[in-house]
Symmetry: C2
Subunit: 362 residues, 2 copies
């Protein structure tokens, strides 16, 4: 096998051009005689990398100057907790529970309820429906909420917001781990956006945070290491950051710019997903469990309804060079995670296999 | 330049064999058709990597079965805070302030003083001497301390403990960021050992924790993401860990085993450092600021006493392929960080340059 069709939900497929570049520069970065892994985070070489990564991100997402970019560690799961510590003001916080990760973010807030005397309100939830559709968001939201937390794309369930609500006076805080950099967004709609990098933005070990300046230092009494302002003031170099994941993020964002930016990438992503959804809608065997208007462009769960057939189909795809099509244990069936770097021809091939399999199992 | 003599204090030089292996496996890990960066942390491929990394570490340090190994994120700086949260019992904690990083660990505990009603005692300090020697540790320590925190090797000041104290009933907690895996240690002497991996153990983005089981769940009410027991129970796969830094750690520990283990590596390290210290002791121009018996085998600060001469010498070494010899801003002069992967011939070359420079500046 030369190159697998890797359908993993994350860590996930990367552009081959990024891997080739990392490989070529591995032993000797720009004639320095050092690998990027060996660069001091205080060296000019690394400063250029982290500055270029930030500039790329600002360009791709058109990030206004009153937003800071932080390169953190610990994953979105760490941010579930630290965002509460950083963003609370009155202590009244709102959560949209639209999927498994939205629920985890909510649970992280509930853990801190007593310590910070929080009022944690679930203002929208589709838990009752096992998250097979997005929750209905309230028409209005009281201005005294410190923030509303939302997960933009549900990796496990395969649902995705196409539009975001705007509640006067309430900062929107979005976990965009699985769709950041897959399409254009209006950053001004958000107080804070965060994402584990290991889907569309790079590799595990880097957490991206984009945060409006006025939300940066609401809790100055936090331990410095948990305080987002620590990293904002130090351009993410307060302590040693995860240097190599930042370098890969820089290469990935270089690649996105070369692809023509996020409008172009989004167009390709929509077309890719459509290939699969079109077939799911006509198939008698394979079904999408997700409500049509909420379907994710990034993660596509589907199933036959028969666990043995599902297993047989997954085995068939493995023979044809596909990897990680197995669905999340909480949903079952199959799940195709088709991030930016997943090639269109991989989807065409997958649908061919589905058609063939369906014919054989009518 | 093909390969620099990289004297960086961290992120630091890696064995060329590790870089070559990472390069060779970059596009296709073991015929998987995927890069290690693209592997799901739940895949068998990655499970084998993380299990091998743990087995290597256990073998190299002879870690007893009642100690758990955790692969965390956030660096030693994050651990400064989380170790207090995890290890406090009565709330009475002791600190050895023997250098800049020991001081930072102490400050992290002081930040939590009010929140946890801590009594934070500095039981040894060489702050008065600007840390040019190690502090004198007390003969005895009251048993009611939850732990004594110590930094085994002071990266900035160039001091290093050769032996560790044993206080009945008080767990010793050691930040070994800059000398873990450079020599054999008796893990049984410690309650917890932790280290940022970017010196002798791998690359930035991975924090190693070795912790005695009975210290793992003293504070079950902590947010799960801060609780070391969360990671212990899940074999460090509670959420997505920094997969690529774990892979590099695995390659580095493979290399250490190939070198003959830590006895052999330590012997080489001592010999390497001796080359430099021998010359410093006979030189009229270059001086070590550190008390002889406390000198580090890993980090060697030295200076001429004349900032212009220091700068001139650093420029000379750069011409000869050395990088990052400049001392830390708080100490000045030069600092040679000569971790495991730094070659002996680099030190011989450095001393040649020192001799030549001294002759020219008598």
């Amino acid at each position: 096998m030369t190159r697998a069709y890797n359908l993993s939900a994350g860590p996930a497929i990367l552009p081959i051009e990024v891997l080739e570049k990392a490989q070529a520069e591995m032993l000797n970065y720009k004639g320095s005689g050092m690998s990027v892994m060996e660069l001091s985070h205080r060296s000019q070489y690394f400063e250029e990398i982290i500055e270029a990564a930030e500039a790329n991100l600002r360009q791709l997402l058109d990030i206004p100057s009153n937003y800071k970019i932080l390169f953190l560690q610990g994953g979105a799961s760490m941010a579930f907790t630290t965002l509460v510590m950083n963003l609370r003001k009155t202590g009244k916080v709102a959560y949209d529970e639209g999927g498994n990760f939205g629920k985890k973010a909510l649970e992280a807030a509930l853990e801190l309820k007593e310590a910070y005397d929080l009022q944690v309100d679930v203002v929208a939830s589709s838990a009752y429906a096992n998250y097979i559709h997005l929750p209905e968001l309230p028409e209005e939201l009281s201005e005294d909420y410190d923030y509303l937390h939302i997960c933009s794309n549900n990796t496990i369930e395969g649902t995705q917001y196409r539009e975001f609500p705007n509640y006067e006076g309430v900062p929107l805080v979005a976990d965009m781990s699985s769709d950041l950099l897959s399409k254009p967004i209006d950053v001004r709609q958000f107080g804070m956006i965060y994402a584990g990098a290991q889907k569309n933005s790079g590799i595990a070990g880097l957490t991206l945070v984009i945060i409006r300046e006025d939300l940066l230092n609401l809790n100055a009494d936090l331990p410095v290491i948990f305080n987002y302002n620590t990293y904002a003031k130090a351009n993410s170099l307060y302590n040693t950051p995860s240097t190599y994941p930042i370098y890969i993020h820089k290469l990935v964002t270089d690649w996105l710019i070369e692809q023509g930016g996020l409008e172009a990438v989004n167009q390709k992503n929509i077309e890719k997903a459509q290939i699969l959804y079109d077939y799911l809608d006509e198939s008698e065997l394979f079904k999408s469990p997700v409500k049509k208007e909420d379907r994710s462009v990034m993660n596509v769960p589907f199933m036959t309804g028969d666990v043995d057939l599902d297993a047989k189909f997954i085995a068939l795809t493995e023979e044809h060079g596909f990897r990680n099509l197995k669905g999340h244990r909480s949903v079952g069936g199959m799940r195709a995670s088709i991030y930016n770097a997943f090639p269109r021809k991989g989807l065409e091939h997958l649908v061919e296999l589905m058609k063939k399999f369906e014919k054989e199992h009518q």
